[in-house]
């Protein structure tokens, strides 16, 4: 009986599978032998991503619909989830248009609700379960935009800052319960979310790069990961610019 428990294949839940970063991270977990539960708002694409991973990496993949902005779908999601996974990756995110968010509260609210408010209903649930079970992991995709507010994207940034603080508190609470919490802070990434933007090539990562870094950091039990690595130093500097100067900068 004891052996069976040790040999059991672990399962990782992915929240927001259709984002490019999430798909790449799902692949990394599959490569290291995890079975997957994939969830997303666009169920058809989520299923296709699941089929692809199943065929390529011979792991078990389950797919469940989840629309983060629709609380009713949360209920169905919990019902359909037959098992509590060994851990989860939270990769739901909405950037919106900064200018639009400044003008229109409903747009600003959509950003905050998608990135922070409504995910709490899901994350709290699993945090409690993991705490009870005394094992588990939570990987949350934040953003360097959450490290300091800049005029270009501070509403998105504010939602990510909230997520960072939440994950940090969660880490503090769950460390004694053997639950790992990893905050991933990507910089520019070439994804669907950013395809309309002109990104600086040297500072821009491919989703696969973020995913590989994430798995490495997860296995090394890290708490916070900047990817690409250069952002760790860049953000260190940016965070330490006095506000008096920072407020005048055009970053």
């Amino acid at each position: 009986m004891k052996n069976e428990k040790i040999d059991k294949v672990k399962t990782c839940l992915i929240l927001g599978t259709t984002s490019d970063i999430a798909r790449a991270i799902a692949v990394e977990f599959a490569k290291s032998g995890y079975n997957l539960i994939l969830s997303g708002r666009d169920l058809e694409t989520t299923i296709r991503i699941g089929q692809d991973i199943q065929i390529k990496y011979s792991v078990e993949v389950k797919t469940i619909h989840l629309d983060i902005l629709d609380l009713n779908s949360h209920k169905e999601f919990f019902e359909k989830l037959s098992e509590i996974p060994d851990g989860l990756v939270f990769a739901i995110g909405y950037m919106g248009e900064q200018k639009e968010s400044e003008r229109d509260f409903s747009e600003a609210r959509k950003v905050i609700d998608t990135n922070f408010t409504l995910p709490l209903n899901i994350l709290n649930h699993f945090a409690n379960e993991f705490e009870k079970r005394k094992s588990g992991f939570i990987v949350g995709i934040g953003s360097v935009a959450g490290d300091r507010g800049r005029k270009k994207n501070y509403i998105y940034g504010a939602s990510k800052a909230a997520l960072h603080a939440y994950l940090s508190g969660l880490r503090n609470r769950l460390v004694s319960s053997n639950v790992q919490v990893l905050t991933v802070k990507p910089g520019f990434v070439r994804t669907k979310m950013t395809e309309h933007l002109n990104l600086p090539p040297k500072l821009t990562a491919e989703p696969e790069e973020i995913a590989k870094d994430t798995l490495k950091a997860f296995l090394k039990k890290k708490d916070i990961l900047y990817s690409k690595k250069i952002y760790r130093y860049m953000l260190f500097i940016i965070k330490h610019i006095p506000e008096k100067i920072f407020k005048k900068l055009d970053l």
Binding site: T45, R48, I49, Q51, D52, I55, K56, K192
Partner: protein, 435 residues
Amino acid sequence: MKINGWGHYPTINSEVRSSADFSKIQEIISKNTELIPNGLFRSYGDSALADITFSSLKLNKFLKFDLEKGILHTEAGVSFQEINEITIPKGWFLPVTPGTKFVTVGGAIASDVHGKNHHKSGTFGKFVMWIKILTADANIVTCSRNENEDLFRTTIGGMGLTGIILEAEFHLQKIGTSAIEQKTLKARNLDELLVFFEEYKEYTYSVSWLDTAVKGAKSGRGLLFLGEHSLDESLGKNYGHQKQLINLPVFLPNFALNAVVLKTFNFGMYTKEFKSEKDFRTDFDTFFYPLDAINNWNRMYGKRGFAQYQFVIPMENAALNLKKVLKKIADYGLASFLTVLKVFGEENDFYLSFPQKGYTLAMDFAISRKSLEMFIELDKIIADAGGRLYLTKDSRMSQEFFKLGYPNLEKFLEIKHKWDPLNKFQSVQSKRLGI
């Protein structure tokens, strides 16, 4: 961005669009009046080039792999390399593969690719069960032998001119091992080589390399490579990657492949095989994809680029016509670096598909005023012989010559017009050839 085919000739500027999301692709099709899909750019000339192109590379998902029946369903941008890595260890292999594994499923369909087993198995298109394609009106249509057959028969071999291939389902062939039993035969001249082809036609895979640098009685000497999937199950199904991937990091200068170098290389290829016959065991990559071991080998020809001249001619008078071709090349004082001769089996019913019963010869020549002039002379020999050129390799043939070789063009155009009345799907090549 600048895009070009494998031959680096021609190169054009193109706006490359891409998405994995069908609704986004529909939007791209609706918004543009003229474009062509592309993938890994292994077609040599201008068939995947246009001012606006759609890259299928984000369509990269495997959707079904039936391990019992050996049926694979993928999106169009999945490459043969990825397929090999997944299906070979499970005992299934592509039914037909070209000489490079860096082609996409969509590209393989659009070119209706052939391989070393064409005389036995036909083209890749024969194994395709159905295709999901985004047509000019931005609708997603499924076509097969039973449904929209006209679209099916124009899409296979249709050079991307009927729409954006999104997905396809196709049969694989069962294999017991991932090893190949190879036999190499040395032929002293063209006549002997053709006799060998006839004598060994029962082999599943056959292809020959011939020396175009030698004149006279020895002209057309070469090596015939034969292969069978090994039946020795103890060998297992490990699909070992090519051990060393050599990269040609820069373009060689234009003069690097001069006549002396070519002659020496061809002489070396021929004489390194001492025996007249040799049997040995080899692996998939070495047998099917020898050139894939050298990354960017196409840079060998320098920045001027090169053309692969590949034709097929009927069996009747083939020896005579092949000799005319070799003589013409010798008269021009040119030699092809790599020359490949193979027997084709029966023609299929896809309107623009290249293979027909006969011999196919593929040769690489650097682009120069002389070689371009020679191609026109060769075209005349091929036209007289009742042959034609492979659209996937072509960058320069004339409309007249093309139309002579492809009598089903009228029918193709009629069906294309039905599905694409405004002629949305056009490439530099299709414009040049009046497709």
